[in-house]
């Protein structure tokens, strides 16, 4: 399908036109998704319409389709399984029924008893886990069907932390929208607030000043580095290798403290706002960040050598929880989940924004798709972030950090930012009064959670925590 009528450039740079598409456009998009020519970026509902964002990876373009719909729309999921959960969420939140959908069960709505998929076969037993888990993690339910110790099927049930974020957005002023965006998935607050700001700035055709964009990138790379370090440790801890968790958490804590010194918040929350950043980076802040980075750069290689040289740990991670490159590609899996399984997409390189086009960095990629590959991806991305931060801190441009953006409308824009977990997509529509008419936030986890179900198949139940942590999908970002 030709996306030209929908977009002639990266849609993030300018306001969106709101054109309705026809049923035949919608069907040809479904066919293109089915054939693997396009990747599904997002699918969401709004009053009397359903919308779909598509990515043409070859042409590096994003397109948007808007199909008017009163009560129903033709199911995308029947052609393209990655759309199924998104459609079920549309049905729950907007009452728009995906006609012909293979799975009509609710997803985010938990009002009625939930029929899990039937299982038939010899010697099968089921293990229900959650929503309250043994560890300190978010709530979700996992229904394992096992034969002996081997997992035959995992079925996830999510939606437990659905907070109605998109409904709260409607009618809110931009500042309130940014606050909510930063609390959609706490570990990615910077990525969300940047994507939200990007959408607002694109819609209002009012870009943030270069210094603000640089500071945003500093925050984003600090967030990525801190999360990768924390998770490398946590994955090893799930293989009972606690020393790595202790070591990595020391480095992570150092980064959080430096972020607090530089930006007044340990996770850099509420620094990024539409129009720029609320807080400039001072020389003292730069020094604090540099000191933390020096500590990481000095100690990380020793930890990597420890990971690489511990056979008992590798025995748990190599070959475990293997995700096939075909599935990663079909689901458009972002972040280290996709890049560890052959899908080399990174928004910072493929659809650059902010200062990334001017920076040099490698985007690591692997094909094995196992826990080990995901650990290595995180190690290599952490190393890349160290390099990026060095360039960013050395090349901070001068000038203001606020553009003085004035909300007005109607206006629409989208944002796409590479969080540590993958690409965070935001669509924002402002009404005539400059207030939010509709905001959709799509976490990368939407396309990673289903792949966890595939990756665990054939593994033993005892390896699930390891697989789950190596994916580290967001519950809150997904449940909204």
């Amino acid at each position: 399908m030709d996306l030209t009528p929908l977009s002639n450039a990266d849609l993030r740079t300018a306001p969106l036109r709101r054109d309705h598409c026809t049923l035949s456009d919608w069907s040809s998009a479904c066919a293109a998704l089915d054939a693997g020519r396009l990747t599904l970026l997002a699918l969401w509902g709004e009053a009397a319409a359903v919308r779909m964002a598509l990515l043409d990876e070859g042409a590096r373009r994003i397109g948007l389709l808007t199909l008017p719909a009163e009560t129903a729309f033709p199911s995308v999921g029947r052609h393209h399984p990655p759309a199924q959960r998104l459609e079920r969420a549309v049905a729950d939140l907007w009452g728009l029924v995906p006609a012909g959908a293979p799975d009509a069960r609710p997803w985010l709505g938990h009002g009625a008893p939930y029929p899990f998929l039937p299982v038939e076969g010899d010697s099968l037993h089921q293990v229900p886990v959650g929503p309250v888990h043994a560890g300190i993690i978010e709530p979700g339910h996992f229904r394992f069907t096992a034969q002996g110790e081997t997992v035959v099927r995992l079925e996830e049930r999510l939606g437990y932390v659905h907070k109605g974020i998109e409904a709260l957005m409607t009618g809110a002023v931009l500042a309130r929208g940014a606050e909510l965006a930063g609390r959609t998935s706490g570990d990615s607050c910077v990525a969300y607030q940047w994507a939200f700001a990007q959408a607002a700035e694109a819609g209002l055709a009012c870009p943030a000043p270069p210094r603000a964009e640089h500071i945003r990138a500093v925050l984003a790379e600090l967030e990525r580095l801190a999360n990768h370090l924390g998770d490398i440790g946590a994955i090893c801890n799930d293989a009972a290798f606690a020393m790595m968790l202790a070591q990595c958490s020391i480095l992570r804590e150092g980064l959080l403290r430096a972020t607090a010194t530089a930006f007044g918040h340990r996770m850099g929350k509420d620094v990024i706002a539409p129009g720029g950043v609320s807080r400039d980076l001072t020389p003292e802040g730069v020094a604090a960040i540099r000191a933390a980075l020096t500590a990481v750069a000095a100690r990380l290689p020793r930890l990597v050598a420890l990971y690489d040289g511990t056979a008992s740990l590798q025995d748990r991670t190599v070959g475990t929880g293997r995700l096939s490159p075909a599935l990663a590609r079909q689901f458009g899996a972002g972040g280290f989940v996709g890049r560890a399984a052959g899908r080399s997409f990174d928004t910072r390189r493929s659809l650059p924004y902010g200062p990334y086009a001017e920076l040099s960095f490698v985007v690591p990629a692997r094909d094995e798709g196992d826990v080990n590959a995901r650990v290595w991806l995180r190690i290599e991305e952490a190393q890349a972030s160290l390099g990026l931060l060095d360039q960013l801190l050395s090349g901070l441009p001068g000038g203001p950090v606020q553009s003085g953006l004035v909300p007005s409308g109607p206006a629409e824009g989208i944002g796409l930012v590479e969080g540590f977990r993958g690409d965070v997509f935001v669509h924002l529509a402002l009404g005539p009064d400059g207030r939010i008419a509709r905001c959709h936030l799509r976490d990368p986890s939407w396309f990673q959670w289903p792949l966890l179900e595939a990756a665990i198949e054939g593994n033993i139940i005892a390896d699930f925590p390891l697989c789950n942590k190596s994916f580290n999908c967001s519950y809150s970002g997904h449940d909204l």
Partner: protein, 174 residues
Amino acid sequence: MRKFLLQGLTSRPLIEAAPLPADPAVEELGRALQARLRGGLGRSLTIRAVDAGSCNGCELEIHALANPFYDLERFGLHFAASPRHADVLLVTGPVTRNMAEALRRSYAATPDPKWVVSAGDCARDGGCFAGSPAILGGVGAVVPVDLHIPGCPPSPTALLQGLLALLERAATGA
């Protein structure tokens, strides 16, 4: 790995800038906490964390309590895998409609005497999520709360301070 461990044992601590920069505030808090634990509750306090709808920011800081800077366990505080083993339920998030029943059951499964600590601004009254039909409100809307720890998210130091305040209150029978 053996070499790695031996180095840590025989030379200085593994962390090159040894010893860990023990934050005096954390140290003091921890000592006070330990004194209270010895007095009122034997030697330890077991905590069960329940996420009733948080954005996962609070969970990150609760995890940080276990890192070598705060090292919660040296003060006799630990996290349990089940509410049945807990003295304290540490509840985060606004309570979503979809988590309310799970929170009620976790509370019912915790043996008496028990305390509930809500952590995070949204756990007080829904915070920035207040007014959403998908949530029931703060933690207090579903289970009785003994203490609230503010912050978005509360820092590990704030969490320690909160636990201390809880013990003060428990000891005076308030």
